[in-house]
Amino acid sequence: MSSSETGFDRFCWAAGSFLAVLYALTPIVWILSLSLKYPADLGDNRFWPQRITFEHYRTIFSDAQFPAALWNSLGIAFISTILAILIAMFAAYAVVRLKFAGRRLFMAFALSVAMFPPVSIIGPLFNIWRSIGLYDTWPGLILPYITLTLPLAIWTLAAFFREIPWDLEKAARVDGATRFQAFRMIIVPLAAPGVFSAAILVFIFAWNDFLFAISLTSTNQARTVPAAIAFFTGSSRFEQPTGSIAAAAVVVTVPLIILVLVFQRRIVAGLTAGAVKG
């Protein structure tokens, strides 16, 4: 902040920031509040709970469905992320560093995959998956997640690789490193912010996906949390499972928050480093 800023400027900045944070956080706080209310108080039209209970959390974890779904979600999202980033790293490196025919075509083609509406392939995929035995399995979800996130990951990583001076790789090769050693010891560490940014984006996609999860799974074997929440039932048929849904929503947000907090500094560095040179 420069010293020339007046008190009024500072007030506007503070007010603006406060509004933005309020706008983003209100729904989350609301869900948190819902998850802590007694079932009887759910319709009391109050923002803050009068009495606090962890009953809903106990309910979702005592049911076999939710822990299984949480495990599926974690496993599928992590495996998808790791595989997608690994493949994207090699692809992006090749596109940036190696001069082969059709590089531009490859990038354009990759982008077109990302523009494809997933809804349009769900039907055929459902049939194919059933006939080849991928229906309701982890690979059955990991595969489409990798496919749909790869373009984004490749484009993000290619932007980062482009910023790394090629001389560094040459220097490593002259210093005695093989091509792969140079890649692993010089290029990858320097592209780390990009790798983390891309990884977070892929993870969020896989973690939040509802469409594929609901269409390609049927049991606790592979059903992820977003799909599982849709199958929540109230304690009686006349009751909405609002509290349980709220509690589940809070629980699935936690890994994302942890992940983003841990890698926050790298991601911020990454998002700006990729865009602005120097």
């Binding site: 001389d167 560094l168 040459k170 220097a171 210093d175 005695g176």
Partner: protein
């Protein structure tokens, strides 16, 4: 320690451009060898071919007789310093220096010993724990040198290592590199576009232009006996003056000269031969008699204390297109009917802009070039020692 031999080496890129054309030269063991040329002349490509970063399209490169054409860079035991320094930004200075040794799988004690030795030689000891981003340009340059030194390679390759430094640091590092080479006695190939750097550092120079080798020789040889217009104009600062001239019956006529210059031992030829006359600024002097005058007008005086460089211009009526200089020299013999030139004078001499200037060429040190192909018309190596260098055809 290694001798490097290039035999008819060429490089063609997939898009058809020929960056290096049929170059043959030998770099002797322990020699400080300079590849000199303007940007885009193929000198960096040639260096990359020697170190193995670029493939060789044609020809052979041998190190101590061993063919290295198809060897990976890491099998050539050469170290390179890049123009951008290429210091690994995520490693401390210590780790940067140790990197090539670690890759080679060396013992930790030996790594520490060698890193310490290089750090001492380059005064990097206090900086070992620092990260590259906190170093100044000169310090980064030293780290890059250190990383090349620790490996005790057969050959050092330096790709414009000083071009990112400011002038003062550049001359300081120039001296350091020279004394380093003196101590290590390792073969060193140094790429630069700066002729001052080249002639002050190199034992021998190779001048390149558009991928072709122009001339190889010691700085003195290139300065005194340039093989063609390009070398003549590229080596020396301020650059050589070029004047359009005519050979007539064994005599040389210069524009603005009333008198002809006698070229003794000249074959008497009635043909009206056009020549380009090259004269270094120090080989022109103020005329003290009325003979052999070049009458010019002073356009600018650069007074430097020890020297004074006086820029002048002369009228040259017919703007003849046949007197063309190589494009890379970025100048023309005559512009708007005027010939521009520079003369080095005694700094005590008083002269101002606009003053008339009567000059006398030192006929013992003039160079003649064929305007058709730019080749020197001087007889090779015969014209040192002050005697006038006659055109080559005299002896044919």
């Amino acid at each position: 320690m290694a001798e490097i031999r290039l035999d008819n080496v060429s490089k063609r890129f997939p898009d058809g451009t020929e960056a290096v054309k049929d170059i043959s030269l030998t770099v002797a063991d322990g020699e400080f060898f300079i590849l000199l040329g303007p940007s885009g002349c193929g000198k960096s490509t040639l260096l990359n071919m020697i170190v193995g970063l670029d493939s060789i399209s044609e020809g052979e490169i041998r190190v101590d007789g061993r063919l290295v054409n198809n060897l990976d860079p890491r099998e050539r035991n050469m170290a390179m310093v890049f123009q951008s320094y290429a210091i690994y930004p995520h490693m401390s200075v210590q780790k940067n220096l140790a990197f090539p040794l670690k890759i080679a799988g060396m013992q930790q004690e030996e790594i520490n010993r060698r890193v310490a030795k290089a750090a001492d030689a380059l005064e990097l000891r206090e900086l070992l724990k620092r990260m590259p981003r906190s170093l100044s340009g000169g310090q980064r340059q030293r780290v890059a040198m250190g990383r090349a030194m620790v490996r005790e390679p057969d050959v050092f390759l330096l790709d414009e290592p000083l071009s990112n430094l400011d002038a003062k640091l550049r001359s300081q590092m120039r001296n350091e590199i020279a004394s380093l080479q003196e101590q290590l006695k390792t073969t060193m190939i140094y790429v630069t576009h700066d002729q001052t750097e080249a002639i002050t550092l190199g034992h021998r120079l190779a001048v390149l232009r558009r991928g072709k080798l122009q001339q190889v020789g010691t700085p003195r040889e290139l300065y005194n006996d340039p093989a063609n217009l390009f070398v003549a104009g590229f080596i020396g600062s301020p650059a050589m003056n070029f004047l359009p001239g005519r050979l007539e019956k064994g005599k040389l006529l210069l524009p603005g000269t009333r008198e002809v210059i006698d070229l003794p031992k000249m074959k008497h030829d009635d043909a009206d031969n056009k020549v380009i006359v090259g004269l270094r600024p120090e080989h022109l002097s103020i005329a003290d008699d009325d003979a052999s005058l070049l009458s010019a007008t002073t356009t600018m005086v650069e007074w430097l204390g020890a020297d004074a460089f006086v820029h002048f211009e002369m009228d040259f009526r017919d703007d003849d297109q046949s007197f063309a200089l190589p494009k890379e020299l970025d100048r023309r013999i005559s512009k708007n009917g005027k010939i521009q030139g520079i003369v080095r004078l005694d700094p005590s001499y008083r002269i101002d802009r606009g003053d008339p200037l009567y000059l006398k060429p030192d006929t013992n040190n003039l160079h003649l070039f064929d305007p058709k192909n730019g080749e020197s018309m001087m007889v090779e190596l015969s014209c040192r020692g002050g005697s006038l260098c006659p055109p080559a055809e005299v002896y044919k």
